[in-house]
Amino acid sequence: MDVTHILIILLVGALATYFSGDKWAPKVALLFGLAAFAGSICLLSQYNLANEINYVTLWIAKPKIYFALHADGLALAMLLLTTALTPIIIFSSFGNTYKNSKAFYALILFMTFAMAGTFLASDGILYYIFWELSLIPIYFIALIWGNGDAEERKKAVVKFFIYTLAGSLFMLVAFIYLYQKTGSFLIRELSQTDLSATEQFWIFLAFFLAYAIKIPLIPFHTWQAEVYQKAPTVGTMLLSGIMLKMGLYSVIRWQLPIAPMAAKEFMYVFIGLGIAGVIYGSIVALRQKDLKKLLAYSSLAHVGLIAAGAYTLTLDGLRGAVLQMIAHGFVVVGLFFVAEIIFRRYETRAIAEMGGIRAQSPKFTSMFMILVLASVALPSTFNFIGEFTVLYSLSQVNIWYAILGGTTIILGAYYMLKMFQHVMLGETNARIFADVTFNEGLTLVIIIAVLFFFGLYPKPIIDLITPSLENILTQVNRFN
Amino acid sequence: MNNILNQIGIENYIFLSVILFCIGVFGVLYRRNAIIVFMSIEIMLNAVNLLFVAFSTYHQDAQGQVFVFFSMAVAAAEVAVGLAILVSIFRNMDTIDVGNLKNLKG
């Protein structure tokens, strides 16, 4: 199993899905998604046998751009997250029928391909290309298969597209500048360069713009809620489950090692920004009327905390951030799926029109409850591990960060339980709510199983990511 | 005759052709009659040719003159085509006022 095979599987899968026709497309896509997941597991086992997972070949001679893929523990963890979530997301959409579904599923696989490439690439330009490539499919998915008024949707989606694209351009500029300085785009060499403090500052800032918009951190988040609301749920899952993690992953992989001095100097600002996002997102989520929007803002709060953890520049912070990234990926996909399940039955996302579902569907209620609890980081769920580690690392920087960041467990509980109360509890709803189908149940059960398993036994993931994170930390600390 | 530049000086030729060239530019900007604009362009071309020849003499090198020769050939072609275009514009629009040719408007 070579690392390129994963990408090839996904790309071929996208083509095969497109040519398999509308009827078979979902199944073909699922098959290839699972194949990619199996491939990732193979890679994992190779990695565990201490094999270097690498693929380098010269792509363009001048400027020197390599087609360089490299999978260390961190990249593998993210790859696994991507390839594990993709089949789940595809499977979750089986209850819906889409027009022109062959294109729809092909785009999903294509997006997975781009995102997997982003996590694996170790050459700056290659990484940049994958990064931008992932934007194209989601643009079409949200635009064509989204919901709500077409004009409104177009406005939101185009805004998202241009906004993130504009942010990334700064990153490209930074890469070009780095190339002028070092003559290479390879992360291996970029993370060894000795740039002056001013240079680092500007490069850090350029990267930051790209990532802050993608993650998103406040105040760059305005695209998020609208796109989440307008995109089809599958698109929302892809966005929130995986694509946000691209930004966070890139912070750890690219931004910190390349400009560590700037990171250290302005650490407090960025941690503060992350925590401000936590509080802001939580408070805004309180009064949302739309279920998906509420979840979008909760996502904003969570990624704020993750970003704050990453910017602490401690092993705990990085580790917590990665753990929380994975946990959040699963839980947010689950929650959006719940929103979709309700939508399939009630055709609405307005919280005010729901309520009284529990009496009709106890199974669904339990699963929803568990997801809500995981989202508010109840101990023994995976999210707790991540949140605890991140908060601990924040407390090592300054106890006030931990206290302010910790308000997430209060505010998070407040808005999630309030939402749960108004969506599920109360007098039995007059409209019939059919209990979850087997497919829906299976999807949720898989997600819940993952959350509990790693909540109780996170050691495999911790062992997987720790060496790479230590490596990155050495690079970050090379100026001391 | 071979000491002509000793008597006049290359700089006077430079001034002459610069002023000639600028008159050409002025004409292009000032007039709106396409034919006159055309003539102005010819003046500019000639200014440049004159300078070429002057420098050719100054450097005692034939290349400058060869270049003028080519530029004359090109000018001839240009005038032929350009005037043809003018004629066809005149036929279609019944005017050759460049102020009226606003199809480029974005």
Partner: protein, 179 residues
């Protein structure tokens, strides 16, 4: 330094140059300034002739002849014919806004200034001019240069002229009103 012609002790050549230069500039200016296109054409003709004089002054007989033939003989005839063809010999120019005139004048001054400054700046005006006595601009030499070194461009020039001719014919041909 710029040599100001010493009019008191001017040599015949200097006088000839001055006269020619004045004619050139004056006619060029009148070409633009004349209201009637036909007058412009006549002025332009005189201008070109004076430039031919310059060429002769510089002892490049070949170019003087070519200039005479091409510009005065061919191009001017073309222009005059066009003017007559379109029957444009009337003051049909509409009112020009003041801003246009102002702009043109400003540009004219600016361009002169910049170009002259550039030439002065680029190289201190070269000192004495010495001749080597070598023949470089007789028709004989030019012919050799043209047909040895510049063979290919020369041929291309002919192709260009051919193409221009065909193009001119095509363009000026009356379109058949088939539509």
């Amino acid at each position: 330094m710029i040599r100001i012609p010493d009019f008191a002790n001017a040599t015949p050549i200097q006088i000839i140059f001055c006269v020619l230069a004045v004619i050139t500039l004056f006619t060029a200016f009148m070409t633009i300034y004349s209201r009637k296109p036909m007058h412009s054409a006549i002025y332009l003709l005189i201008c070109f002739t004076s430039i031919t004089g310059h060429y002769l002054l510089l002892n490049s007989q070949f170019l003087a002849m070519v200039n005479l033939i091409v510009y005065i003989g061919a191009i001017m005839i073309l222009i005059v014919f066009t003017i007559m063809l379109m029957n444009l010999n009337k003051e049909n120019e509409v009112y020009k806004p003041r801003i246009t005139r102002l702009g043109a004048i400003v540009t004219f001054c600016l361009m002169c200034l910049v170009l002259i400054a550039m030439f002065i700046n680029s190289k201190p005006i070269v000192g004495e001019y010495t001749t080597t006595g070598e023949d470089y601009q007789s028709i004989k030499v030019l012919g050799k240069v043209l047909l040895n070194e510049y063979m290919v461009p020369f041929e291309f020039a002919s192709v260009l002229l051919l193409v221009a001719m065909i193009g001119a014919v095509l363009l000026s041909k009356k379109e058949k009103t088939t539509k």
